[in-house]
C-alpha cells in the first residue's frame, strides 16, 4: 500500500529503468560490476581542501560510498571536505550511486572490492555483521571515548549486535556502525480543517478515542474531506501505535508471530476501523503521487518526520504536529525511531583511517555540518537535533522531540530477513485494508505465514 514514498521506500523501489530487459540475463547483475559509473574523483575534495600550500601529493586513498538523491551528493562532498581539512594527505574516492545501491554494494562484496566506509542500513546490520563483512568498532569507540551515551539509545541500538542474535540491539553486543540521524514518526494535523469543523486541537493528553471523535466531526465524504489517513501497514508494523497498545510482531525469541495476539489484533482493528467502521479515513487506492494531507484531503496523518520539510511548503492551510495520542488503556504513545548511519567494511586496508572518517561523519561536528547544509534529518544527538526541532514551521516541532524522549522504540524491522517475512505476510493484511476483508481473519492468516517464515529464516540464519 505505497500511498506515499519515503526516501527509503523510494530507494528500495527505484530501478524502474531496468525494466524491459532481456529476462534471463538480468537476474544476477553480476557481470556489470566493473561498469560502475566511474566516480568523479577529481573535483570536490581536491578543489576544496584548503591545504593548497602543502604538497598536494595524496599518500593514502580511501573509498567512500553512499546512495544519493537530489542535492545530497554535494552536501556529502562538503562534509567530507570538512574531514579532509584535518587529513589533507588522504584522497577520498567518493562513489555516489543513485539506484539499487545495496545490490551494487553486495556485488562489490562478492567481487572482493567493497568501499572502506559507506552509508549504513539498520535493516542490514544482522545479515552483514553475521556474515563478517563489517568492521567491529567496539574497541575503537571505547579507546577514543566516542560519545555514544549522548545519542538516543534507540538509535545506537540499531548498530549493536551480539553474535548469534536474531536481531540487533541486544545487550552486550558489539558495535558495527554509528547512527547518523534519528528519524521518528509524527502525527500532523490540519488546523484549518479543525477550525472549519469547530473541533479543538489535540492536547497533550488526547487518546486514540479522541482522535476518532475529532475525525468524525471533520469527515465530510461528499466534499472529499476526511478526518484521518489510515496508518500505512508498514508504518504501523514498525511499532508506531502498535506498541502503544502493547501489541507486538513476534515473541521475544523470534520463533512465533504475535500478529494475532489479542492486543495486536485490537490495534490493527483500530487502524482498520478508521476506514471501514468509523469511515473517517478515505478508502485506499488514492493516487500514489499525492500526499492526502498536503492536498488538504485528510485532517490528520501519521508519517515519517522527514515529511516536515515537505509539509513546510504548504501554503493553503495552517498545520501543526502533536504528541501521539495515548492509548486509552495503556496510556502509552510509542513512536518508532530509525537511524541511517555509517559503517566501515572489514576488508579496509586502513582501519584507523576508516574509523577516523566514521567518527567525523557521526560526531557532533559532522552532524551539525549536515544539518546546516539543509539535510534536516534530525541528529541522533539530542543536543544537535534541537537546532532542528526549534525551527518553524510547524509551531510545535519540539513536540516531536518530546515524543521521542518520552517514548521511542527502535524501529521493528531490524531482525534477520524482516523484509522477506514482511513480503510474505503483509499481503494478508493488505487485502483487509484494500478490500475491507475481515481484519481479525487477516491477522490470523498473517500470523500463520509469519511464523512459517520466521522458522525458515531461522534455518537460514543458522546454516
Amino acid at each position: 500500500m505505497p500511498s506515499k514514498l519515503s526516501r527509503r521506500t523510494f530507494l528500495r523501489g527505484a530501478g524502474i529503468g531496468a525494466a524491459g530487459m532481456a529476462l534471463a540475463a538480468c537476474a544476477p547483475a553480476a557481470a556489470p560490476a566493473p561498469a560502475e559509473p566511474a566516480a568523479p574523483v577529481a573535483d570536490a575534495p581536491a578543489a576544496e581542501a584548503p591545504a593548497a600550500d602543502a604538497p598536494a601529493s595524496a599518500t593514502t586513498n580511501m573509498v567512500f560510498s553512499s546512495y544519493t538523491w537530489s542535492g545530497y551528493e554535494a552536501a556529502m562532498r562538503d562534509v567530507i571536505a570538512g574531514w579532509n581539512t584535518d587529513h589533507p594527505d588522504v584522497e577520498v574516492e567518493q562513489q555516489y550511486i543513485a539506484e539499487d545501491y545495496w545490490t551494487k554494494i553486495q556485488t562489490q562484496l562478492a567481487g572482493g572490492t567493497p568501499p572502506d566506509v559507506g552509508i549504513a542500513d539498520y535493516a542490514r546490520v544482522v545479515p552483514y555483521a553475521s556474515s563478517g563483512v563489517l568492521l567491529d568498532i567496539t574497541e575503537l569507540i571505547a579507546r577514543d571515548s566516542f560519545p555514544l551515551d549522548d545519542m538516543f539509545p534507540a538509535a545506537v541500538a540499531q548498530y549493536r549486535w551480539a553474535k548469534g542474535d536474531f536481531d540487533s540491539g541486544g545487550d552486550g553486543g558489539n558495535m558495527y556502525g554509528l547512527p547518523s540521524d534519528a528519524q521518528s514518526y509524527i502525527i500532523a494535523y490540519n488546523k484549518t480543517m479543525f477550525d472549519e469543523a469547530g473541533v479543538a486541537y489535540p492536547t497533550d493528553d488526547w487518546t486514540w478515542d479522541d482522535l476518532v471523535e475529532m475525525g468524525k466531526k471533520i469527515t465530510k465524504p461528499d466534499e472529499n474531506k476526511w478526518g484521518m489517513q489510515y496508518i500505512d501497514p508498514t508504518v504501523f508494523t514498525k511499532g508506531n501505535f502498535l506498541f502503544s497498545a502493547d501489541g507486538s510482531n513476534y515473541t521475544p525469541d523470534f520463533k512465533k508471530s504475535m500478529v494475532d495476539s489479542p492486543e495486536s489484533v485490537a490495534a490493527w482493528k483500530w487502524n482498520w476501523d478508521l476506514i471501514y467502521t468509523h469511515k473517517i479515513a478515505p478508502p485506499p487506492g488514492a493516487q500514489a503521487s499525492t500526499n492526502p494531507f498536503m492536498s488538504g484531503q485528510v485532517a490528520m496523518v501519521v508519517d515519517g518526520v522527514w515529511w516536515i520539510s515537505d509539509f513546510a511548503s504548504i501554503t493553503d492551510f495552517e498545520w501543526d504536529v502533536a504528541l501521539y495520542p495515548k492509548h486509552p488503556d495503556t496510556g502509552k504513545r510509542t513512536t518508532s525511531l530509525e537511524s541511517d548511519g555509517w559503517w566501515a567494511y572489514k576488508s579496509t586496508q586502513d582501519a584507523e583511517m576508516a574509523w577516523s572518517l566514521l567518527q567525523y561523519l557521526s560526531n557532533q561536528e559532522g552532524q551539525t555540518r549536515f544539518g546546516d547544509l539543509g539535510y534536516v534529518i534530525p541528529s541522533c544527538f539530542p543536543a544537535v537535533g534541537e537546532r532542528w526541532y526549534t525551527q518553524k514551521p510547524p509551531e510545535n516541532r519540539l513536540k516531536v522531540l518530546d515524543n521521542i524522549t518520552q517514548e521511542s522504540h527502535k524501529v521493528d524491522l531490524t531482525y534477520y530477513e524482516f523484509w522477506t517475512c514482511w513480503a510474505a505476510y503483509s499481503p494478508s493484511l493488505g487485502v483487509a485494508f484494500s478490500d475491507g476483508a475481515d481484519i481479525e481473519a487477516a491477522c490470523a492468516e498473517a500470523a500463520q505465514i509469519h511464523t512459517e517464515e520466521l522458522t525458515a529464516a531461522w534455518e537460514r540464519f543458522q546454516a
Binding site: 505505497p2 524502474i16 525494466a19 524491459g20 557481470a31 563483512v133 503483509s426 487485502v431 478490500d435
Partner: protein, 303 residues
C-alpha cells in the same frame, strides 16, 4: 597486401579479417554483457546466493520451491497470464479497427495517426501517473464522470477486484499506438488490385475485409501477436509505477516478483530460477504460436 601477391583466396581471407575486426566490439559486448550473464544466471539458479557470502550449490531446490513453498510464484505467473491475455488480444482487435479506419481517405488522417502514436513516445512514468489520476477514486475523471450518471465508481487501483483489470485497460491504451502503425503498414502493403477485382465481382465491404484483408494481413497479425505476447509477458515499468504490484499483490507480474527477489531481497538464486521459468514459458508460448500459425497465417508468395 600488394597487388601481385593478392590471389583471390588471400584477398578473401584479408576481407574476412577486416570484417571480424569491425564486428568484434559488438560480439564482445554481446558475449560479456548478454551471453555470459545468461549462462551465469543459469548457474546461479542452482545456488543460494545473497551476494554477501559465496553462492552455495543447492541443486534443483530453487526450482522445486517455486512450485511448493513459494507463496507468490504461481500467483504472479497467473496474474501475468491473465494480464497478457487481457492486453494482447483486445489491443490487437482495437488496433486493427483503428488501423483500418486510418487507412481510409479521411480528413486529418495524418493528425489522427500522430495522436494514436503519442502514448508510444511518451515517457512510461508520465503515462502511469496520468492513469493514476484518471483512476483516482474520489475525484478522478473516471469516477467523476460515472458520478454524473449516478454510478459510484470503485476504487480502481485500491481493491484486489479491480486493480488488475484497471492496469490491463491502461496497458491496452498504451500499446495500441505501436500496433496501429504495424497494422497500417501491413494494410498499405496489400495491393489495390485485389480489392478492384473483388469489387467487379460484387463483393461488399465485409467480404473484402474477411476474404482479402484478413488473409493478406495474417503475417502482420502474427508478428503483432508474437511480439505482443513476449513483450507483455515481460511488462514491468508501467504497472510498477502505478501500483508497485499492489494492492496485496493483485497486480504483481512475474517480472516484478523477479525484481523484488533479486534487488530487494537479494535472493539471486531464486530470482535466477524465476527468470528461467519465465524463459521457458515465453519460449513455450512462442513455439505454440508458431505451430498454431500454420492454420491461419497465409503467406502470399508461398501460395
Amino acid at each position: 597486401m600488394t597487388q601481385d601477391s593478392g590471389s583471390l583466396k588471400q584477398r578473401r581471407r584479408y576481407e574476412e579479417r577486416i570484417a571480424w575486426l569491425f564486428i568484434t566490439p559488438v560480439v564482445l559486448g554481446i558475449l560479456i554483457f548478454q551471453i555470459y550473464p545468461t549462462i551465469f544466471s543459469l548457474y546461479a539458479s542452482f545456488t543460494t546466493w545473497n551476494l554477501i557470502t559465496p553462492p552455495r550449490w543447492v541443486g534443483l531446490e530453487n526450482y522445486v520451491s517455486l512450485f511448493t513453498t513459494d507463496r507468490f510464484f504461481i500467483k504472479s505467473m497467473w496474474n501475468t497470464i491473465r494480464y497478457t491475455l487481457g492486453v494482447v488480444l483486445p489491443s490487437m482487435a482495437i488496433s486493427l479497427f483503428f488501423a483500418s479506419l486510418l487507412n481510409q481517405n479521411i480528413r486529418f488522417k495524418h493528425g489522427y495517426r500522430a495522436i494514436y502514436f503519442v502514448p508510444v513516445v511518451a515517457p512510461t512514468v508520465a503515462l502511469a501517473l496520468l492513469w493514476g489520476w484518471l483512476y483516482e477514486p474520489n475525484f478522478g475523471i473516471i469516477n467523476a464522470t460515472l458520478a454524473t450518471v449516478g454510478i459510484k465508481g470503485p476504487s480502481w487501483l485500491g481493491t484486489t477486484t479491480w486493480a488488475l483489470r484497471s492496469v490491463i485497460i491502461m496497458a491496452i491504451w498504451a500499446g495500441i499506438g505501436f500496433q496501429i502503425v504495424i497494422f497500417l503498414a501491413g494494410l498499405q502493403g496489400i495491393s489495390q488490385e485485389y480489392y478492384e477485382a473483388a469489387a467487379i465481382d460484387g463483393a461488399n465491404a465485409w467480404q473484402k475485409f474477411a476474404k482479402i484483408t484478413m488473409p493478406l494481413l495474417s503475417p502482420v497479425t502474427f508478428f503483432v501477436l508474437v511480439t505482443g505476447v513476449i513483450g507483455t509477458f515481460q511488462d514491468f515499468s508501467l504497472v510498477w509505477v502505478l501500483t508497485r504490484g499492489g494492492p496485496a499483490g493483485a497486480t504483481q507480474l512475474i517480472v516484478m516478483y523477479l525484481y523484488g527477489l533479486a534487488f530487494q531481497l537479494q535472493k539471486m538464486g531464486r530470482a535466477s530460477a524465476v527468470a528461467y521459468a519465465v524463459f521457458v514459458v515465453v519460449v513455450g508460448l512462442t513455439i505454440m504460436n508458431f505451430i498454431l500459425s500454420k492454420r491461419w497465417v497465409f503467406y502470399e508468395e508461398s501460395n
